[in-house]
Every structure is written in structure tokens, then in C-alpha cells.
């Protein structure tokens, strides 16, 4: 047979079509269809996001689980940073989803809306969530189905470097009642008193959780329970305007004057003493205080007490979820139950995931906590008792919104667009990304 171009091409196309069909079936093998799902090889695959330290604690906790459940084999994997979710999506795509996994606030619905997560109510005989408060439990509920269990709870709080304020003779405001004006005022004083060495504050203008707090204080929110945008351009504009005002007053550095090297405490501007007042994740208080040399004070957000509605929320720091195609959902649920409810296991994991969602477990841990961790725990407890809006899982598509806000905020910061234009753009993006879910 001669290899004419025509014949080669035909043969090639046929081969390709055949192979494509084969592989296409591979892609098509999706959770909903295959009742058998992954073949059970007797092991549970548990994955999470974090660094080596966290991995060591979780591994230890899992080993403890194995002592009482020797028949369950557990394989693990972890990544830190964004690779985690990226690898997750690829694993799902190829039918190799993990059994028990950490889901982020931002991605839970991306997965659950597409039917890839198990409704944990189905394994409620093994997984006991009764100890959790209703608000916390419902944080993982979408349309009446429990797709995730909060693995820890936290919030965002404002923190003041009291040591720096004392150094420059600036009065530390009362964090229970202060307003946004108080914040800007104090911050401007700090900048002036320190001769520019230390900036007063940094408004996290491009950070969506903070915008959320602002919106709620004004009676709006980022999204409602159905996942539709629930805010107006005017409020967003006011948020941008406050940032610009802060820069004008000297309360905060201009856009390119300080670097954010990383989110970690020792790389943060607050930790390095470049900025005196900033927002931090509540459960990270210990780490930040440590880096700040012990001079940190934590409290409510500005404007909370005067607002129509308090803006802060107690939110899950992560969710644990089980894949809908898990070969052994019961065993996975057993592991999950252990992670949530077992006091010893929780003690090993410690506060790396925030405060344990189960209040009994967290109370049992209270005595072994360090001073600083205790402060964080108490703050969260305090917040839990206030009348705060209940958190709703971020709607599908919110990740794009998050990025957009950061980008729009950058443009406002550098004067490329006005705050009104920025607000308009943000509304547009919200409508197109959130509505589509």
C-alpha cells in the first residue's frame, strides 16, 4: 500500500476520531451517571490545603483515627496555595475525585451546583452534626442539602498595633464603638506623628470580604440566598471614595508605596510595623501578635455599632465535603465525623483551621490554648453571640467576581477610572457572573 497523502490523511482522521470517541467517553463518565462511581479499593482519599506543618497535624489526627478504625486505609495529599483547587478540578474531570476533601468558601457551590458533592444528610447516621450551632451548620447548606461541614469558624476583625500608637502618643480608639471616620482620623494622626515612618492604616478596598462587611453595614450585601447580586452602585462608590479620602488625608499610603509580599503574618505590613491598623482573619491573631511583638489589640470593625445592621459575620474557614462518586461514603463520613467531633483529634489539629465548629470540642480545647489563641477564640465566641447576618455559601461564579473587584480597585487606586465608574463596572460584572450560575 502506498502512502499517498490522501490515504494517510484518511487513516489519520479515522484513528483520531476513534481515539477521540474513546477518550470522550472518559470525560463523559461523570458523577451523575456512573452509579458505581470509583471502584472501591478499600481506601479513603483525603486531601486538604495547607503547608507542611498543617499536614503533620492532620496526619497525626488521622493516625489517631486509624487506631480506633484499623480497617479503614487512608491515603492523603495536600497542596498549599491555588494549586490545590486547580488540581482538584482536574481530578474531578478525570473521574479520580478524592473521597474527603477541603472545599473553600468560594468554591463549594461551584462543585455542589454541578452535582459533584454528596449531600451529607444521606450519611447522617454516621456523621453527627447536632452539636454544631444552627448558623454554623447551615453555612454549608444549599437548597436544603448539606454539601459541606465547616471545618472551623473564623471571622475578620480589625487589629491595632497598640504598641506603635503608644510610641507616637496617639490615643487608641475604643474598638467597640468606633466609626470609619474615627479610623481615618486616628490613622492620619499616626502617619503624622511618626513623620511618615508608619502609615496609619490600609483600607482593603480590593478585598471582597471587606466590601461585603461594608455593604451589610449599609443594609445591602454581596449576594442574596439565591446567589443574585444584592447591592447598589452607590454603596460601592462610597467604599471606593472612602479609600481615596483616606489617601488624601494621609491615613493610608498611596497605591504603589507599600508592597504586599504575601498574605502571611510576617510578610504583612501590619506585622512588619509599616502600618498600624489593619484587618486580619480573627483566628490568625496569635500569629500576628507574635510577629508584632505582643502589642496587638483586636476588636470590631469600624462602624459596626452605628450601622443599620452589623457587617461582620462568623464564617467557615473551610468546608469538608465528600465527593458524590465516593466509593465508600460511609467510611469517609466516619473520618469526617472524627475530624469534627473528636476532642482528641481536634486537639491535635489545634487552631490551624480556626476555631473548631463544634462548640463542645472547642470548649474542651480552651484550657490548652495559648493566651493569644484564647483571645481569638473569645472574640469569635463573642461575635457568635451578636446578631449577625448568617453566612451563605458563596454562589457559583463568585471567584471571578473576587478577581474583578481586585482589578477594578487597582484601576481606581491608580486613578485610571473614577470611583463612580469603578462601581458601575463592578455592578455589571456581578450581574453577568453571578446571574449565570
Amino acid at each position: 500500500m502506498t502512502f499517498t497523502l490522501k490515504r494517510t490523511t484518511t487513516a489519520g482522521i479515522l484513528t483520531v476520531m476513534g481515539a477521540t470517541a474513546l477518550v470522550g467517553c472518559g470525560i463523559g463518565d461523570k458523577p451523575g451517571e456512573a452509579a458505581t462511581g470509583d471502584e472501591s479499593d478499600g481506601s479513603i482519599d483525603v486531601v486538604w490545603k495547607g503547608d507542611a506543618d498543617r499536614a503533620a497535624s492532620i496526619q497525626e489526627a488521622l493516625d489517631l483515627f486509624n487506631e480506633s478504625h484499623p480497617d479503614v486505609t487512608i491515603t492523603t495529599d495536600y497542596q498549599s496555595g491555588s494549586e490545590y483547587m486547580q488540581k482538584m478540578s482536574i481530578r474531578f474531570a478525570s473521574g479520580d475525585a478524592p473521597d474527603l476533601m477541603r472545599q473553600e468558601r468560594e468554591t463549594l457551590r461551584d462543585y455542589s451546583d454541578r452535582g459533584t458533592l454528596l449531600d451529607l444528610n444521606e450519611v447522617s447516621d454516621v456523621l453527627d452534626l447536632s452539636a454544631l450551632s444552627e448558623t454554623v451548620r447551615d453555612a454549608g447548606v444549599v437548597d436544603g442539602k448539606q454539601f459541606g461541614v465547616p471545618g472551623g469558624i473564623t471571622s475578620f476583625s480589625y487589629a491595632i498595633r497598640a504598641d506603635i500608637l503608644d510610641e507616637y502618643g496617639v490615643e487608641v480608639p475604643d474598638m467597640e464603638t468606633w466609626t470609619w471616620d474615627d479610623l481615618l482620623q486616628t490613622a492620619a494622626e499616626v502617619t503624622e506623628a511618626s513623620g511618615g515612618e508608619v502609615w496609619g492604616t490600609e483600607i482593603p478596598v480590593g478585598e471582597i470580604s471587606n466590601l461585603g462587611i461594608w455593604l451589610r453595614q449599609h443594609g445591602e450585601d454581596l449576594w442574596d440566598a439565591e446567589g443574585n447580586p444584592a447591592f447598589t452602585a452607590g454603596t460601592v462608590e462610597a467604599w471606593f471614595d472612602m479609600y481615596l479620602e483616606a489617601v488624601d488625608m494621609g491615613a493610608q499610603p498611596a497605591a504603589d508605596q507599600l508592597d504586599q509580599l504575601g498574605a502571611a503574618a510576617d510578610q504583612s505590613t501590619l506585622g512588619q510595623g509599616l502600618v498600624a491598623i489593619n484587618s486580619i482573619p480573627t483566628n490568625s491573631f496569635a500569629v500576628f501578635n507574635d510577629v508584632s511583638g505582643g502589642g496587638l489589640e483586636m476588636g470590631y470593625y469600624p462602624g459596626e455599632s452605628q450601622a443599620e445592621q452589623r457587617g461582620q459575620q462568623v464564617i467557615p474557614s473551610l468546608y469538608w465535603s465528600i465527593s458524590a462518586t465516593s466509593a465508600d461514603p460511609e467510611a469517609s463520613a466516619e473520618v469526617l465525623d472524627f475530624l469534627i467531633n473528636d476532642p482528641e483529634g481536634a486537639a491535635i489539629i489545634g487552631s490551624t483551621h480556626g476555631q473548631p465548629a463544634n462548640p463542645d470540642v472547642s470548649a474542651a480545647m480552651a484550657d490548652d490554648l495559648t493566651e493569644d489563641d484564647k483571645i481569638a477564640f473569645d472574640e469569635i465566641l463573642d461575635l457568635s453571640e451578636l446578631d449577625l447576618a448568617a453566612p451563605v455559601p458563596d454562589p457559583a461564579g463568585s471567584a471571578a467576581l473576587r478577581d474583578e473587584l481586585a482589578s477594578i480597585a487597582d484601576q481606581v487606586k491608580f486613578g485610571q477610572i473614577t470611583s463612580a465608574e469603578g462601581a458601575e463596572q463592578f455592578v455589571e460584572v456581578a450581574e453577568s457572573t453571578l446571574g449565570s450560575a
Binding site: L5, T8, V23, D51, A52, S80, G81, S94, G262, D266
Partner: protein, 301 residues
């Protein structure tokens, strides 16, 4: 630079002398000095970031961003020792894994790309032009295009969590860059050599092994070096396919240091960066001698 030398050499009488390079004849000491100076200056600027990195790995964390100097005022070796054992496995595990992958990749590339390049540059067969164009077109393929489908294929083959998805492509001449490099090289070799060998009774295979391969050593050396670097620095592929920490390579391990949540120490990051970059540097320094010799013997004079 050319204008300086030009101006200065314009009146020199031209005489043939045995010198290293033709241009050497016309150079005044002044020019040579200037040239050296420029090269040294550029070299210094190029090297500064790396030297700073090296120095920073020995500085205590607080000093790192404080000073410009490439000589630490305070020597702190703890970054190395701490970071070496900071991850689940000691760092040498990752170094050895990366080395294994790199060596095997080199073998794969040399064999498969060499064979393919020979076919494209020296042999004639039906569909050659078409296939050559096809091969070149894969150069332009953004890797993202193949990402998910390839992953699915490897998953169906059961090759996940092994080195196979990373190595098998190197044995299948998938790297058009090296094929292209070798093709260009082989094209430059005169065909008379082939004809002479054919007269002596060599078939295509003989020509390949006896004539082409020895003459292409510089291209092979270059391929080996580039393969090593590429394999050593590869991040995305290992990230996707390796789940078992025992199998992790250096870049993956390094990324574990730079996490966004806990406390990441720049000193440790820099220290492990130095450790991960050192073998690359070493390999190059060792290999470059080969490069020089190879190039020197290529001349068909």
C-alpha cells in the same frame, strides 16, 4: 563598540598572523581593555541578583530586605538546616527524584529526537514535507491545549501517580524544539559525507550511527543540557500527575515552602532555592567543557 574599534584600527597595516580569531589582529590593548571592562560590567549586573540571593540565604530573616550587600554582616546557616527537614521528607529525596527524571528524560530525548531529526533532515520519504510541517506546528501548541485531555488519557491508562506521564513523552519525540535544533544542525553537515559512506556500503542506519551521531555531538550536548534544565525546573506536569510525596520533585517541594497561609520564611525559601539551583549550575559547568570541545571539532576543515 564596533565604532570604537573601527576608529582605532583604521590605519593598521594588514598582515596575516596566526591568531585565535581574525579580528584579534587589529586590536589595540586599549580596545581590549575597554571590551573587558564592558563585559565585566555587564557580567556584574547580571550576577548581582544571584549573588544577592546566595547572600540572603545566609542572612537572618530580619536582615534580608534591609541591606543591599552581597556579603552578610551576620552569617546564619540555620535556614539550610531548618529548611532541609522542614517538609515531610528530607530534601535529598526530592533532589534524587528530580535527578532521576532528568537523566531519563535526557536519554529519551536524545534517542527519539535524534532519530526523528535524522529522518527529517537526511532521509527522503513520502509525506516528509507534510510531517515536517506537522512536527513544527506542534512547537506552536500552547501546552494548555493538551492539558486536560492528556490528563484524562493518562488517567485511563492508570499512569497517575507515576513518572510515566512525564517520561513517556520524552521517548516519543514530542519535543519539537530539539528535533528542530538537531535538524538545523544536521542540515549544515555536507551531504558528501553521506554519499561517501553509502559508497562504502553503509545503509541509512549505518550512516546514522557512524557519521551523523558523532558529528552531532554539540547538538546532542545542547539537547542534553536543555533537557536537564527543563526537566529540573518543570513544575506543572509533576504537580498534576504526582500525588505521593515520595515522588515529589524539587520545584514542587519548593512551592510547599511558599505557602500563603502560615509563616513562610524568606530565608528558608532562598536557601532551598540555592540548593535547587546548584545542581543545574553544576551540570552546566561540567557540560560546557563538552560543548566547547564539540564545537571546536565540528569544523569540516
Amino acid at each position: 563598540m564596533a565604532t570604537i574599534t573601527e576608529r582605532l584600527t583604521v590605519r593598521k597595516p594588514r598582515r596575516r598572523r596566526a591568531v585565535e580569531s581574525f579580528d584579534e589582529m587589529h586590536v589595540k590593548p586599549w580596545t581590549r581593555f575597554a571590551r573587558h571592562l564592558i563585559v565585566i560590567a555587564i557580567g556584574a549586573i547580571m550576577m548581582y541578583p544571584l549573588l544577592w540571593l546566595l547572600a540572603a540565604s545566609f542572612k537572618p530573616d530580619s536582615d534580608i530586605f534591609g541591606s543591599l550587600s552581597i556579603w552578610p554582616s551576620e552569617w546564619d546557616f540555620s535556614h539550610y538546616t531548618d529548611a532541609w527537614t522542614a517538609l515531610e521528607k528530607p530534601f535529598q529525596v526530592f533532589l534524587l527524584n528530580s535527578l532521576l527524571l532528568a537523566v531519563l528524560s535526557i536519554v529519551g530525548n536524545l534517542i527519539s529526537c535524534g532519530m526523528a531529526a535524522y529522518a527529517f533532515s537526511r532521509l527522503d520519504f513520502r509525506g516528509r514535507k507534510f510531517m515536517f510541517a506537522l512536527m513544527l506546528s506542534t512547537l506552536m501548541l500552547p501546552s494548555q491545549v493538551l492539558l486536560v485531555p492528556q490528563y484524562v488519557i493518562f488517567a485511563q491508562l492508570g499512569w497517575l501517580n507515576t513518572y510515566l506521564p512525564l517520561l513517556v513523552p520524552t521517548f516519543l519525540a514530542t519535543n519539537a524544539f530539539f528535533i528542530f535544533l538537531m535538524v538545523q544542525f544536521m542540515r549544515a553537515l555536507p551531504r558528501e559525507l553521506d554519499d561517501a559512506a553509502r559508497i562504502d556500503g553503509c545503509g541509512s542506519f549505518g550512516i546514522f550511527f557512524r557519521i551523523i551521531v558523532p558529528l552531532c555531538m554539540p547538538a546532542f550536548a545542547t539537547t542534553a543540557i536543555f533537557t536537564f534544565i527543563g526537566s529540573w525546573n518543570e513544575f506543572f506536569g509533576p504537580l498534576l500527575y504526582l500525588t505521593n510525596q515520595d515522588l515529589y520533585t524539587v520545584p514542587l517541594a519548593l512551592k510547599q515552602f511558599m505557602n500563603t497561609e502560615g509563616q513562610s520564611s524568606w530565608g528558608q525559601i532562598f536557601a532551598m532555592s540555592v540548593v535547587s539551583l546548584a545542581p543545574v549550575v553544576g551540570f552546566f559547568l561540567a557540560g560546557q567543557k563538552y560543548l566547547i570541545n564539540g564545537i571546536a571539532t565540528t569544523g569540516l576543515k
